[in-house]
Symmetry: C2
Subunit: 211 residues, 2 copies
């Protein structure tokens, strides 16, 4: 990914937050059949480890071998940015359209897990993370379902781990723009129902002001 210094995201907390907030990754690989991509919710267990699972009927675990190079792409908020939103445009008209966005690309290798114990552990981790944030004290638990039903469901999936070897992260918010232009686009994001981008840009603005 093209990664100019002003839009490279180097804050580990920002990277972890994007993955936790937008966990539906797209897992991409080059296979004998060409490029394939599958949307899969992933949990970041550590800086170096992502876990998830797919349906056993998903050929992904058959066309990829253990150790296969994959990329997991996590996309956050994004918005078209109009030149009209830069105060400086009214002065010299020297602005063009662009796009603001945030993305994390994790390169690594995948390894599949077929034993029930490993699959139960992965499902348990994902359930705890996603149900916990969604339903709090009323969170669904695996033990709420009949044992034979859960066993049948676990038999129908394949778990996997991605060992992360390289992370590329980009927060392209116009950090190379003049402060007044950056600040007004931040306000436009707030006004245009883009609270996530507005907050992320406001966080960056503190850094720009100090810099």
């Amino acid at each position: 990914m093209y990664l100019p210094a002003h839009s490279e995201e180097t804050d580990p907390e920002a990277i972890a937050d994007l993955i936790a907030t937008f966990p539906l990754a797209t897992i991409v690989a080059q296979t004998d059949d060409g490029l394939i991509a599958n949307p899969v919710p992933l949990l970041r267990v550590s800086d170096e480890l992502l876990v998830g699972h797919v349906a056993k009927a998903n050929p992904m675990h058959e066309v990829m071998r253990d150790g296969q190079a994959v990329m997991a792409i996590f996309n956050g908020a994004d918005s078209y940015i109009s030149p009209n939103w830069y105060p400086s445009k009214a002065i010299d008209h020297s602005q063009v359209p662009t796009w603001n966005y945030e993305t994390v690309q994790m390169h690594g290798t995948i390894a599949f897990q077929h034993d029930e114990k490993a699959k139960r552990a992965v499902v348990g981790r994902l359930t705890k993370a996603f149900e916990g944030r969604t339903n709090g004290a009323r969170a669904w638990k695996m033990s709420d379902a009949p044992a034979d039903y859960m066993a049948s469901n676990l038999a129908g999936i394949v778990a996997f781990e991605i060992s992360v070897t390289r992370v590329l992260a980009k927060s392209k918010f116009g950090q190379n723009k003049a402060i007044d232009d950056f600040a007004n686009v931040t306000r436009e994001m707030e006004a245009r129902d883009q609270p996530r981008l507005a907050q992320r840009m406001a966080d960056k603005f503190d850094g720009l002001s100090e810099g």
Copy 2:
């Protein structure tokens, strides 16, 4: 992509709408340097043609050759789906968590354009589409900017076309669920600030009811 019949999206209008609503694609390719991916806004000119541009400083146009196989991934709305949201869960507890999402993957070949006329045409198309929907009658036009400024900007980009050879589209909304379960998850999407998913599911519900 794993594409069970019940979640395969075959409606050309739904596919075109997703691309128009979420135009920031991720363009993926296998290169001599391994997998690379770049977020790039794309315009769908026809069923078989996507156009866009990248910064000349983006090595994408150097590590990809003309005719290179690429995939353009367009992701729409997505949401975690809790088992608690299925009315049938209260009866037999036989539900597990899942994820609803919509995605379009376009496979094709890329060709880059370096001449100013082609670049100006692509920028004009994208500007008309994205500015038009954003600012209507007040839309910014290329002619608003000084000629030398636009020429300098055009010199700093490379345009490209993707000739689409294969489309995989998935609207995974739980179309394999019981009608009452599907209907209640639709209501949860509405209540949980997911109007796009609620609307897309409601559109599918009409089909399920008739089916």
